[in-house]
Symmetry: C3
Subunit: 270 residues, 3 copies
Amino acid sequence: MEILQKISDSLLTLKEKKPLVHHITNYVTVNDCANITLAIGASPVMADDIGEVAEMVSFASALVLNIGTLNSRNIESMMAVGKKAREKGIAIVFDPVGVGATALRTATAKKIIQEVGPSVIRGNMSEIKIIAGLDAGIKGVDSVADEAGGETVARQLSQKLGCVIAITGKQDIIAAGERVCRIDNGHAILSQVTGTGCMATSLIACYCGATGDCFTGAAAGVMTMGMAGEIAQQSLQAGEGVGTFRMRLFDAVWAMTPELITKGGRISNA
Amino acid sequence: MEILQKISDSLLTLKEKKPLVHHITNYVTVNDCANITLAIGASPVMADDIGEVAEMVSFASALVLNIGTLNSRNIESMMAVGKKAREKGIAIVFDPVGVGATALRTATAKKIIQEVGPSVIRGNMSEIKIIAGLDAGIKGVDSVADEAGGETVARQLSQKLGCVIAITGKQDIIAAGERVCRIDNGHAILSQVTGTGCMATSLIACYCGATGDCFTGAAAGVMTMGMAGEIAQQSLQAGEGVGTFRMRLFDAVWAMTPELITKGGRISNA
Amino acid sequence: MEILQKISDSLLTLKEKKPLVHHITNYVTVNDCANITLAIGASPVMADDIGEVAEMVSFASALVLNIGTLNSRNIESMMAVGKKAREKGIAIVFDPVGVGATALRTATAKKIIQEVGPSVIRGNMSEIKIIAGLDAGIKGVDSVADEAGGETVARQLSQKLGCVIAITGKQDIIAAGERVCRIDNGHAILSQVTGTGCMATSLIACYCGATGDCFTGAAAGVMTMGMAGEIAQQSLQAGEGVGTFRMRLFDAVWAMTPELITKGGRISNA
């Protein structure tokens, strides 16, 4: 079965199973992550205290670890919940927000990758290159890295770490071992709203939690966000901008159907 | 005076008094809680450090305690601020988010109920049944409990704890001792947006802070949220979904009037 | 060059330079602050752990310190990051949210002013009067102070502290030493949405980070917010309220141009 059909089918499965997705995430975009999880048809739970995270994740189908506003308290919780999720075989989606910007972020990302072992890592080109040990800058949490050669970076990193790599940017790249594909959905205005990366990560977790297939799940999450961005952008009328766009992203994810994906999804082997 | 008239009058009082409502709440929906408090005409303040909570609540007319993202730091603050509010006779509205999902949530809810003594507890059917010691499951923070027999659960729990119980769901139930009423406002789409429960709790606190009448206040808060949900849902046009709905909830609460409540409120004795 | 022209030019510079603005801010309005920073054309980064703040701010062009939800952890981080920013000559914009409401807020504001030395302080009339040591009340985080005589308060405080003072309210006042101006943009509905003050502070930081001119930057940030409020309010149609208004604020800031400022800005010497 071709990948676009698999993505389309995944959405059906997601809507039937309504997976519970446990997040330990940043306080900047946490509300957006909860709402996008609900919009696609899954169920979000946010809990980050060391006293409850291992218990909470036991009932979840997927786990999101996002270091956007990391601190000593939530790092400890991420390590504990990550190990529990791993033990239980729950899909773990890691968003290394701003890795490379500070030594703490770089060390924490390394620790999560080595000791937890995520199923999927989703980041922008700077973040993924930095994780791959390549020479790349980062501006706060925004990518400034050259997107050329992203497929090779993604493929090699995926093979090295044994997990799915998803790079989002002008063009999105998904790699799992030898398999690499490109997704051409999306719109530049997505980068002018905070949280669109974090929300893509949450959507990936929703799909992975529903199907257990993390390559398809990563592609499905990234494609859903990209298509929603296109639909929201196309709806804008005179006088409307990023505020309206942001609201319509949720409308578009909520209205996403397998048919829309089959028709509008643009994915190809790299 | 019948209850619907009392609710309608409460809104007038709220808009005149603009009560200050102190929240210790979760970081997922805190912005929504602040905005809904402003939208109805009250004044929100969010402060959770142990070094200032007792002083801050002294100027408030109502207190919200919401354990959506509880941790050792905010639990300590909730206990301290709760006791101070109790001492000062300030209405305390407790939202036991996700009680039953983890031992920490269950223990914290128990502690707040026993040592603080809330004026109102608002939860979904799972949360209220779990507090009542009944056998009920919960999926993260979402209810999976059977709604049948809710009036009896609410009445008995209210009598046992000596506080108002508000259950929100397909049908909403408010109980204070022997008095029980049902509210039939609302729409299923409310459950597809995060924070609508938390916002109902905040609205209850706004009303209780304005009038001191916690039975009417609980009914008024729940009804306001339900009616706003109906108005927002009815306004949706082709292509609009949960994003637009969420925005219009704030429009509808902001535009709520005593006349609208008298006309659109659906409340009956159980 | 007159001030309105300077403000207009600042927006061009901001859009060219896309300054990185590091925030340590409250969890109530942090998402709004990130989105308004992106909407005007700058780049936000939120990081508050003591283990990374000094490193993160080293790459930033401006720093926001906002005590809306202060606690022992973020106070420590604010002191450390503030000193680093001062050492590096980075513009520091301080928002003393709710100063005067509790002893902790008052002590923290004093400590930040004395030990960090902000470039700009933006607050409402209550907050600025309290910092000036005048007799003024505050209701949670909302101003209840008389706005008469604000120019004198601002001028004297600016001279005493050696920083720019920005008071926002019915009329906005910007003072730097002997220079004082009034801004007459804005609309009362801005006070019915949480975070409009915090967002004005973020916008000030974006302008100061781009140009290094903190008097013009403070005026530009306040004027941009005020004009966006006017544009958003004028766009409202029947049935639309604070929810729609809030969304359109972001649309309006995103669409702001030097020409709109030149045409719509209302600023005069006090």
